[in-house]
Amino acid sequence: MSTSAQIRDVTFTVPERWYRLERQSLIAGVAGAILCIIAAIVSPEHFLRGYLVAYMDWLALTLGSLAIICLIHVTTAQWGFAVRRILEAAARNISLLTLLFIPIAVGMTRLYPWAHPGADRDFLTHLQRPYLNPGMWILRAVLYFATWNISAWALSRWSWLQDSPPDHAYRRRFQNFAAAAIVMWGWTMTFASVDWMMSLDNHWRSTIYGFYVMAGQGLSGFAFVIIAAVLLWRYRPISEYLTITHLHDMGKLMFAFLILWAYQAFSQGLIYWAANLKDEVNWYVNRTTGGWWWVGIAIILLHFFVPFFLLLSQDLKRDTGKLIVLAAWMLVMRWVDLYWLIIPNFPDTKGHFTISWSALAATIGIGGLWIYAFLVNLKAHPLVPRHDPMIYRVIEAQEHGH
């Protein structure tokens, strides 16, 4: 069969079964939003902390997806061909998350110690004023969201323009733009992680923090795309173009990001452990005492060691049933890691483990809306960029039994 015949034969729409999932996720999103509103009325302070955990968790999937699209374009990776539209639909959710950032911006004075009224009495906060002040913080947030929205929409839009009329001329443009976008992600996310997470304790600083958060985002992105790809693999057209070798490759990259994340986390810990300075080490004391110890141990064992040894196995990475479970597990542990990073920053939770119900409610709420918007995005365009020149390499590789 000739290549063009194979391209024409398949349908490119989202399977109808997924329409039910769309309604369910919208219901979950609305229910979560109502719970969030109740939580915000009962205790705005506690709600905002939980909301921030949920927000950073879903932001990680979105920006992780954006970074993976850039990676695919820069390296012209074959494994990325069949999943690119999935990633584009996820990355465009950055527009939803731009809106969902409003509660954090509005609640800034309740969430961040440097934004509290009278925070200037603290000398260090006073010195940090040129950077950590509400106006600059908002301005920077606007710049981050502008960068991410432009990146996600530009890469998506050119991807659609490839479809009709068929145009092969986008490869160079994709490659150049993606190279710039991945660097911009590094810049903006480094500052964003300082602004939104690290400044929750503005007496503590870590230069590796941004990279640590970004390694986690890459991990979330790969875990997400593996789940979505395996679920869509039962249907055309993904089943036509996605091969087990592609999934194996994505499993390897998830493994790589898991190791990268652990490397950052450990490097940061080692430096503060070795220096053992009172100002710096308190951050770890807050997270390793009063019940948080067990969360930390759980992260070391269940976020790193268990998945690490499982992912060493080639058989596991080529077994879609097992790989999808492990990817889902990684997303759960990403949430736990963000919870451990964010929640023990506050006076009543430092060194005192607490369950934040609003974090769970907000995770369901944002998650429901996120999945709903993802499915709406996914439906709007063909599932595979069928006129991308990469299709010939993918088909050729299949014919040779890859």
Partner: protein
């Protein structure tokens, strides 16, 4: 073992797809003692040739674990047993600080054992191999694809195998002198 007059027969193909098809046909025809040569790896061909899992990953894993343990206990032995010193009031068994060297030794152990394990299991270095007696074999590292069937193969018959290889669409079939 009796000395065979030739080592085998070598068929030359112009494309990877032809080589993959030829390898499958040869396998279906019952040939087992054969090998394929190409400028790059072709997964379909490796599968047809029946390349099974190698033991290199296992050797590598064991080497890595051994390297890690050795790295850790080297430091433990120095800092706790052999020459204990109080450094800034930290515990003698400062395992956090030991991790860096442990990690590096894990990689050293894994990579050295992977290299040596690979050489031990695939029989390299091998200074002489009969396939190089065919002058055109030099193209195997450029743009040609070769399938060699050894004379040792029970199904091998110089005339039948020659015709069989020719029938696969080979550009050329040559004898491989011993």
């Amino acid at each position: 073992m009796r000395e065979l007059p030739i080592w085998g027969l070598m068929a030359e193909f112009t494309s990877a797809a032809d080589l993959a098809i030829a390898t499958r046909r040869a396998r279906e025809a019952g040939y087992r003692r054969m090998d394929a040569y190409s400028p790059f790896g072709i997964e379909a061909v490796t599968e047809e040739l029946g390349f099974h899992r190698t033991k290199v990953p296992l050797v590598c894993l064991i080497g890595g674990i051994f390297g890690g343990l050795a790295g850790f206990f080297l430091q433990y032995w120095i800092h706790v047993l052999n020459y204990p010193q109080n450094i800034g009031g930290r515990p003698l068994n400062s395992w956090v600080a030991f991790i860096v060297v442990t990690f590096e030794c894990t990689i050293l152990g894994a990579s050295v054992s992977a290299l040596l394990g690979m050489l031990a299991l695939n029989g390299l270095p091998q200074p002489y191999h009969p396939v190089f007696n065919v002058p055109r074999f030099a193209f195997a590292s450029k743009d040609r694809f070769f399938l060699a069937i050894q004379a040792e193969d029970p199904k091998f018959d110089i005339h039948d195998t020659f015709r069989f290889l020719e029938g696969l669409g080979a550009r050329d079939v040559q004898e491989i002198p011993n």
